[in-house]
């Protein structure tokens, strides 16, 4: 499939010292929805600003449908739509007027203008409020209006910087449902930055994780999740008959003993214990669980509860973009 965006060794150095982007390589397939995930300050907004021709890269190459975003910036601007993270419509005029001004800026001919505006309003479900002043809109409506402004010219690539930041769940859903149906109708490539893992999981075809100016992982959401581990099964170990609350050394030795046995099992990747909860990373929980329970039983350990968790995109994100932070907080050590 043709690529919509091609990035090779893209580097951006601010003030000669801060490496905001450090050799980014990335390909985005045409007509796909692409999510770029990264912690604050990871370079994802810088990357989007280069791709949308706002700032120049220090080194490297980025192309949008074969146009160099640095050298052919005026051509690139005609085929992209962009919605910045911050509010970007005029609030003292109506929604329709906002679209009208953008239609004129983009040179939508006067014959097509009305239709283009109403199409965009309809795509974003704003027909009913079009003639109301924007200052009376809700946050979700403003965001949809901003996207409508970007959709006016039926862009080949739509860039969205944190498109649903600060919106309530139903507004987020509305934004995405409208976007998806637009994408389906016009085959637009959507490239978005987000902090919301569930959003990337639900709506994107492909995900890239950026950290410290480098792309650290790419793939579909399910590929990324699979790349972590199959599943985590947590066992809460009961204090097994001994009266004492937590005797000093004996249980520790016992724990270690059990861990070694469990780690030796087939289908088990790793096991750790903290606060009398044992986490076992396995490929397939349904097969591994009876085996682990057998080991625990044979050691005379009874269980209070068992819980199974499949990895989420959050786990993927934490592993590739925030591992240290996670370990500090929870003590988890997935032995991958």
């Amino acid at each position: 499939m043709a690529s919509a965006i091609d990035i090779r060794q893209l580097t951006k150095v601010y003030d000669g010292k801060v490496n905001a982007l450090d050799g980014v390589d990335l390909t985005v397939k045409a007509a796909s929805i692409f999510a770029l995930l990264g912690p604050n300050g990871s370079g994802k907004t810088t990357l989007m600003r280069i791709l949308t021709t706002q700032i120049h890269p220090t080194m490297g190459l980025a192309r949008a449908f074969r146009y160099d975003v640095d050298k052919d910036d005026d051509k690139v601007r005609k085929i992209i739509g962009y919605v910045p993270q911050e509010m970007s419509v005029w609030t003292d005029i109506t929604g329709f007027e906002n679209l009208l001004i953008y239609a004129k800026i983009y040179g939508v001919s006067s014959l097509q203008r009305k239709k283009a505006i109403w199409d965009a309003l309809q795509n974003m479900g704003l027909e009913d409020v079009a003639n109301g002043p924007v200052k009376k809109y809700s946050g979700g409506m403003i965001r949809r209006l901003e996207i409508a402004c970007a959709l006016l010219i039926k862009p080949k690539i739509l860039f969205l910087d944190e498109p649903t930041l600060g919106l309530d769940p139903s507004a987020r859903k509305a934004v995405w449902e409208n976007l998806r149906s637009f994408k389906k109708e016009y085959g637009t490539t959507v490239f978005f930055n987000t902090h919301y893992m569930d959003e990337a999981d639900l709506y994107s075809d492909e995900v890239a994780i950026i950290n410290q100016g480098k792309i650290v992982k790419t793939g579909t959401a399910s590929e990324l999740k699979r790349s972590l581990h199959g599943e985590i099964i947590s066992f809460c170990l009961a204090n097994n008959g001994t009266d004492s609350m937590h005797p000093s050394t004996a249980p520790l030795r016992q724990d270690l003993n059990i861990l070694t046995k469990i780690r030796a099992l087939n289908f088990v990747n790793d096991a750790t214990v903290h606060d009398s909860v044992m986490d076992v990373a396995v490929e397939n929980g349904e097969i591994a669980m009876p085996l682990i329970i057998d080991v625990l039983r044979s050691e005379g350990i009874s269980l209070q509860w068992i819980r199974s968790t499949r990895p989420t995109l959050d786990d993927v994100f934490l592993k590739y973009a925030g591992m240290r932070h996670m370990q500090d907080q929870s003590g988890y050590h997935y032995g991958i």
Binding site: D74, K78, I80, Y82, S88, E97, K104, Y106, G107
Partner: protein, 256 residues
Amino acid sequence: MAFNDSLREMFAMIELEMRRLKHDRTEIYTRAVQPILWLAVYGTVMSHVRDIPTNGIPYIDYITPGVLLQSTIFVSVFYGLTIVWERETGILKRLLVAPASRYATVIGRAIASGVRAVVQALIIFPVAILLGVKFIANPIYILAAFIMLFMVSGGFAALSIFVASLMKTRERFMGIGQAMIMPLFFASNALYPITLMPPFLQSIAVLNPLTYAVDAVRGLMISGDVANVPVDFMAVIAFDVVIFIVASISFRKIIE
């Protein structure tokens, strides 16, 4: 076709300003209060002081061009606040991603501010007539005076955008704006002839574009002495050209 794109954006910016004005006219009216007070109170009181040489023109009439220009230029000088606000929101980023050149945004905005200034002056103009100010009844002169008002307001709006691109925050911008306003007004011939000023102030007044605008508008609307008007127009055009270029160049700094 980059030129067409830019031209389109300029017109769109003017239309935007007009639509904003249509939705909220309060600002235009409230901003008319101060100049009307200048004429009605300051002008009336000072007209009893007969020491200011006005070539036989009644003092209220003498200061009307200055007050008219002052009221519109003050609006222009603070126009940069809109740009600062648009920078804080995402509007500017979005405009810079549109196909037009950056200078189109600056010039379009400055012209839009000039148009707003003309609307502002049109509110004060009839009030001045009611206060007994006698304008020269020559439509071409009046039209030329309004063109001057439009040009100098546009220039000061560009100056304001230039300041905004350097200051970037509301607070810093307000500080500079306030510091500019008073010298601009007092170091000009708006309220008294330049000849009354100490030499130092005179040399500032000669560099102040407002001086030329006031001179032209006074000649065209009040005194009928239009001998200096071509020179005044040339001075203001030169100011506009320079400041449009400087502001356009500096504008890219605003989003960095």
